[in-house]
């Protein structure tokens, strides 16, 4: 029986997604995964994170719209779900911006001391300690 076959009394609330659409979404997702893995082997500097996040967001949008039926769902449900990202953004932006402001005051507080490594190989631990500042 098809989804729109017996629409009775407005009870027909099932929206089966056609199989070809499911499959094409899946292949698009796989393709994007391959792209994201492939781009990681090129050095594109600080753009890196942006590219990766854009690809991930496209993938997420595909999953949400088709696998999660969002494209056919009630608008209210869509608003509810998407608004959660606004609150996540709020949380991230405030907390991160504050950490950025205050981090120079204490970052890093404790330099590595040769605590654990000493037990294993003292030489390596010494190296770790002496060469520490190069990364700063």
């Amino acid at each position: 029986m098809s989804a729109h076959g017996d629409s009775k009394d407005g009870y027909d609330f099932a929206h089966p997604i056609p199989v070809p659409m499911l499959l094409s979404v899946f292949f698009a997702l796989v393709l994007l995964t391959i792209i994201t893995v492939a781009q990681a082997s090129f050095d594109i500097g600080s753009l890196d994170i942006v590219v990766v996040m854009v690809i991930a967001t496209i993938k997420a949008a595909l999953v949400m719209a088709f696998f999660m039926h969002m494209a056919y769902d009630k608008p209210f449900n869509v608003i509810v779900f998407l608004s959660s990202f606004a609150f996540v953004a709020l949380f991230l932006i405030f907390t991160m911006s504050d950490s950025k402001q205050t981090s120079p005051d204490f970052e890093p507080v404790i330099e590595e001391t040769a605590s654990m490594e000493v037990a294993a190989t003292p030489a390596a631990a010494d190296e770790a300690e002496t060469s520490e500042p190069t990364a700063e």
């Binding site: 696998f67 009630k74 950490s99 390596a124």
Partner: protein
């Protein structure tokens, strides 16, 4: 067939009262559609809570990546991209089969529904199997959360007293044994329903070990290439540290220009920096009688308890909580599978499949972000 019955029942229900409710319709709802809409809004709200739940860890990730990009870059090399990519594929495929399962329940394809749910379950198990390989491998190397971290670059594979892989596998072996026993008993008693439940579950439980095998093959393939692999990213690290030095030289120039204003604070800062640079430089030269020694020392900058340890803390928190969600999802999928074998679902009542599906897609969604954020940092 039962669809028509249900539809007829519902048509009747619209005019009747509680006692005419179809069996799947809870007493306090008027129509199946109201029940479905309530459940759907409920699950969407639940997903909202899930997103905010994970947001805490994404926030921790973002803060530490912002403050110490070098640590993330260095540590990400220890995560096996191939395993991560395979797991991404497996989860995406499970999302496909889950979405397909929802479709099957909506169009009353009972056999297809059972098959799709079994496929989803199997993918979940493969995912966990691959994850088990990743985890046990890192635990043996001591790449653990900050408090437990004991990785030592000079001796990356210490003699291990515990077989972590076996410890992870043990509960799944017991599970597989239990399901197989169930299957045997159901065949012995010729109980059709139990047979239909136990067969797909046995396949799914066995898939955990398929995942283990897959992980092992990919991991070993990687360690063969490790000799080629190792130097490449180490040279990257060197370049990295060189650029860092360049930056600090630039800063020093600025400081030098400022220091002319007889600003003692900046002067002392400048001397401190120069001493630092000298010590650092001399350290490399002194230890650098062998090239390999220098490489290790550069790598070590980040592979310490308070740097890499924090990265692995975040890694374990994020992937661990995600894995717990997979386990919970597996529980729900098993429940659905049994109900699907019982033919509980029809176009008027497919809510539970849809809700679990949404949850499953969310778990997939989170992995879609976790994979590039953890595995693909260059």
């Amino acid at each position: 067939m039962s669809t028509i019955e249900a539809a007829a029942e519902n048509a009747h229900d619209a005019h009747g009262h509680d006692h005419d409710h179809p069996s799947f319709l809870a007493h306090h709802f008027d129509t199946p559609e109201q029940q479905f809409d309530s459940g759907k809004l409920g699950i969407w709200l639940f997903l909202v809570t899930e997103i905010l739940f994970f947001s805490g860890m994404f926030c921790a990730y973002a803060i530490f990546r912002m403050l110490r990009p070098d640590v993330f870059e260095g540590c990400s090399q220890f995560l096996n991209t191939k395993l991560g990519a395979i797991n991404t594929g497996v989860l995406l495929f499970s999302s496909l089969t889950m979405a397909w399962a929802v479709r099957c329940s909506q169009v009353k394809q009972d056999r297809g529904l059972v098959g799709m749910l079994a496929a989803t379950l199997s993918c979940a198990m493969i995912f966990l199997g691959v994850k088990a390989i990743e985890y046990s491998h890192k635990w043996e190397m001591g790449l653990l959360p900050a408090g437990l971290y004991f990785y030592d670059p000079a001796n990356p594979h210490p003699e291990s007293h515990t077989n972590y892989l076996f410890m992870i596998c043990l509960p799944f072996m017991i599970l597989l044994g239990g399901v197989v026993a169930w299957l045997v008993v159901s065949f012995a008693t010729k109980n059709k329903f139990h047979q239909q439940c136990a067969m797909p579950l046995t396949v799914a439980a066995a898939c955990f070990f398929v995942g283990i095998g897959l992980g092992m093959v990919l991991e070993s393939g990687d360690s063969e290439r490790a000799t080629d692999d190792h130097p490449t990213h180490v040279t990257e690290s060197i370049e990295q540290s060189e650029t860092m030095q360049l930056i600090s030289t630039g800063e020093n120039q600025v400081l030098e220009s400022l220091a002319t204003d007889s600003n003692t604070g900046i002067k002392s800062e400048l001397t401190a920096r120069q001493t630092q640079l000298e010590t650092a430089g001399s350290a490399i030269i002194q230890e650098g009688d062998e090239i390999a020694g220098a490489i290790i020392s550069v790598e070590e900058n980040v592979m310490t308890q308070r740097k890499a340890g924090v990265f692995f803390s975040i890694y374990y928190c994020m992937t661990g909580v995600h894995a717990i969600h997979i386990l919970v999802g597996i529980g729900f999928l098993v429940w659905l599978l049994v109900r699907a074998v019982r033919k509980d679902f029809n176009p008027q009542y497919f809510g539970p499949v849809d809700y679990v599906g949404l949850y499953w897609h969310l778990v997939d969604l989170i992995w879609i972000y976790l994979f590039p954020l953890l595995y693909l940092i260059r």
